[in-house]
Amino acid sequence: MSEPLLTTADVAHVAKLARLELTDEELATFTDQLSQVLEHASDIAALDLDGLGPTAHPFGLTNALREDVVTEVSMRDDILAAAPAVEDDRFKVGRILGEAP
C-alpha cells in the first residue's frame, strides 16, 4: 500500500466535527481502516464522469406537496416523555454559551 490517504490528524479533525471522542488506539485503527476504504474508492475517484449528473433519487422524484390541513394529533406529551430531561414542556440541556465576560 502507498502513502495512507489519511493522517491521524485528519481523523482527529473529523471526529471532532462528528462530536466523537477517540482514544489514541481508536485513532490509529480508524485512520488505517478509513484509509483502506478511501484507497478502494480510488477506482471511482479516477473516473471521468464530467458528462454525468448526480443521482440522489432513482426515479427522479422531486418535491412532494400536500394540502395544508391538519392530519394528525399532537404527540407532544409522548415525545417529551421520551426526552432525557424536560422543564416546562421544553427539552432541557446544560449551558450552551460561554460564561459572561
Binding site: L6, D10, V11, V14, A15, L17, A18, R19, L20, E21, L22, E26, F30, Q33, L34, Q36, V37, L38, H40, A41, S42, D43, I44, A45, L47, L49, L52, G53, P54, T55, A56, H57, P58, F59, L61, N63, A64, R66, M75, D78, I79, A82, A83, P84, A85, F91, V93, G94, R95, I96
Partner: protein, 473 residues
C-alpha cells in the same frame, strides 16, 4: 414449516385458532432463541390479545385481513408505538416511539400478529449482526456461522421456524444477504414501493423495507399487504402497484434472462455452480439465456461506501442526547453531545459517521461524495442499457456462504466486500430478490439473485417462483 398463506387459510376456516398459532410461535422461540438470539424483545401480551381478537372475528364471521393470525417479526429499526425500538444501539436503548411505522400499521390492519423485534447490526450497518450492541444472532443452520446482516435477526427468525414472515430493511443488501445465508426468500422492493415512515433512517436514498419468507408466494402476499403509496413518506411512489401474486403463475416462457458475469465475478466455485444450475432451470422452463456484461456494477461498492456513510453521518447527527435516547450529562451542551455519542455508538457506526463526515467535508466533497453520486448515475444508465436486451438479470446474492464469527470483524473492507452483488440494486432503486437454491460445499444455504428494472418487483417474483420450483432439494 407452515407458510403464512397456509396459516391464514387454516385460521380463516377455523381449523386453527390464532391463539394456538401464537402460543406455538412463543413456545418455539422460548425453546430455541436462547442459542440463536434472533429477538431483542418480545411482545407476548399484546400478541396474545391480538390473536384472541382474530379468533373472535372468526367466530363472528367478521371480515378478516389477508394475514389474520399470522405471526410476524419486525427488525428493531421499525417504530412500534410504546414498544422499545433500539436499532441494536445503546444510544436508543429504552426508547419507546410515540407512533407506529406505516408498515406496522398495515400489518396490524391485515390481522398480522407482531410477536417480537429482531436483532440487527447497530443502525443496520453491517453484514453479520456482529455489530449489534446486544450480542450477535447465530445462524440456525450452524450456530458457529453468522446469519448475515444487517437484518440477521429477521432472517434467523424465519429460518428457525419461529415465524413464517418477518420484515427487514435493505440499504446495501441487508435483506438479501441474510436471506441467502439463512436459506430464506428475501425481497428488496423498488425504492418507494414500501413506505419508510417509521423506519429509523440510515441512508435515506437507499433504505428500503422488505419481507423474509419461506416461499415466494408469501413474499408476494406480504407485498400486497404493505406496498403502496403513503403520503407520510415524501419518497413514496404514487402509482398503482404491479400484480405481485398474479406474477407467480406466469412462468418464464419467452423471457430473456441476462446471466451477468459481473454478478458472479469473485464468487466461490460452489456459489457459481448453483447460479449456473439456476440458469439451466430457467432455460428448461422456456427462458432464453443471454450473457450480459455490466462492468460498471463493480464500481457500486466504492460509490456505496461513500454515499451511505455520508447520508448516515447526517441522519445520525440527531443522536445528540437532547430529545431522546441516551444522555451522558456534562456541564455544557457540546461536551454532553460528544460524551453521549462516544458512549452510545459502537465502533462500526463511529467508523461510518467519520467516513461520511470526511466525504462531505470541505475540499473532499467533489472528489468523494460528488463522484459517488455521478457513479450512481453511471450504474443506472448501464442497467438501463442492459434491460434493453434482457428482462431480468441473474447472479449470485453473495460471494460465499455464511462465514464464521470473528472472520471479518477486524477487517471492515473484507466485510464490505460481502455486499458486492447486492449494492447495485440499492444504488439504482431497482427491485431484487434472493431465492434459496441448494447448499454449498459446507452444506450451508446458497441464494441466487434476480434483479429487475425499477418498479418491476412482479418480474422478480415471477422468475423467483420458477427457481423455487426447480431448486435442488
Amino acid at each position: 414449516m407452515t407458510t403464512a398463506i397456509e396459516l391464514a387459510a387454516a385460521i380463516k376456516r377455523g381449523e386453527r385458532s390464532a391463539v394456538s398459532v401464537a402460543e406455538e410461535a412463543f413456545a418455539a422461540i422460548s425453546a430455541r432463541d436462547g442459542e440463536i438470539h434472533a429477538f431483542l424483545s418480545l411482545g407476548q401480551d399484546h400478541a396474545m390479545e391480538a390473536a384472541a381478537r382474530v379468533d373472535a372475528a372468526v367466530a363472528q364471521g367478521a371480515p378478516l385481513g389477508p394475514l389474520a393470525g399470522v405471526p410476524v417479526a419486525l427488525k428493531d429499526n421499525m417504530c412500534t408505538k410504546g414498544w422499545e425500538t433500539t436499532c441494536a444501539s445503546k444510544i436508543l436503548e429504552g426508547w419507546k416511539p410515540p407512533y407506529d411505522g406505516t408498515v406496522v400499521e398495515r400489518l396490524h390492519a391485515a390481522g398480522a400478529i407482531v410477536v417480537g423485534k429482531t436483532n440487527l447490526d447497530e443502525f443496520a450497518m453491517g453484514s453479520s449482526t456482529e455489530n449489534s450492541a446486544f450480542g450477535p444472532t447465530r445462524n440456525p443452520h450452524d450456530l458457529t456461522k453468522v446469519p448475515g446482516g444487517s437484518s440477521g435477526g429477521s432472517a434467523a427468525a424465519v429460518a428457525a421456524g419461529f415465524v413464517p414472515l418477518s420484515f427487514g430493511s435493505d440499504t446495501g443488501g441487508s435483506i438479501r444477504l441474510p436471506a441467502a445465508y439463512c436459506g430464506t426468500v428475501g425481497l428488496k422492493p423498488s425504492y418507494g414501493f414500501i413506505s419508510r415512515y417509521g423506519l429509523v433512517a440510515f441512508a435515506s436514498s437507499l433504505d428500503q423495507i422488505g419481507p423474509f419468507t419461506t416461499t415466494v408466494a408469501d413474499a408476494a402476499l406480504s407485498m400486497e399487504v404493505v406496498a403502496g403509496y403513503d403520503p407520510k413518506d415524501a419518497t413514496s411512489i404514487n402509482e398503482a402497484m404491479p400484480d405481485f401474486t398474479g406474477a407467480l403463475s406466469k412462468g418464464v416462457e419467452g423471457l430473456k434472462v441476462g446471466v451477468c458475469a459481473d454478478l458472479l465475478d469473485g464468487a466461490a466455485p460452489d456459489v457459481a455452480r448453483r447460479v449456473a444450475e439456476a440458469a439451466a432451470v430457467l432455460e428448461a422452463a422456456g427462458a432464453t439465456l443471454v450473457e450480459v456484461a455490466v462492468p460498471e456494477l463493480k464500481l457500486g461498492l466504492s460509490a456505496y461506501y461513500l454515499l451511505a456513510p455520508a447520508e448516515a453521518s447526517s441522519n445520525l447527527a440527531r443522536y445528540d442526547g437532547v430529545r431522546f435516547g441516551l444522555r451522558e450529562e456534562r456541564d455544557d451542551v457540546v461536551a454532553m453531545n460528544t460524551a453521549t455519542r462516544t458512549a452510545g455508538f459502537g465502533a462500526e457506526v463511529k467508523r461510518r459517521i467519520m467516513l461520511g463526515t470526511y466525504a462531505l467535508s470541505a475540499g473532499y466533497y467533489d472528489a468523494y461524495y460528488g463522484k459517488a453520486q455521478k457513479t450512481r448515475t453511471l450504474i443506472l444508465h448501464a442497467l438501463d442499457r442492459a434491460y434493453e436486451s434482457v428482462d431480468v438479470l441473474l447472479g449470485a446474492t453473495t460471494p460465499t456462504t455464511a462465514f464464521g464469527f470473528g472472520d471479518k470483524v477486524a477487517d471492515p473492507m473484507s466485510m464490505y466486500l460481502s455486499d458486492l452483488f447486492t449494492i447495485p440494486s440499492n444504488l439504482a432503486g431497482h427491485p431484487a430478490i434472493s431465492v434459496p437454491f441448494g447448499t454449498g460445499d459446507d452444506a450451508m444455504p446458497i441464494g441466487v439473485q434476480v434483479l429487475a428494472p425499477g418498479k418491476r418487483d412482479d418480474l422478480c417474483l415471477q422468475v423467483a417462483a420458477v427457481l423455487e420450483a426447480g431448486a435442488p432439494r
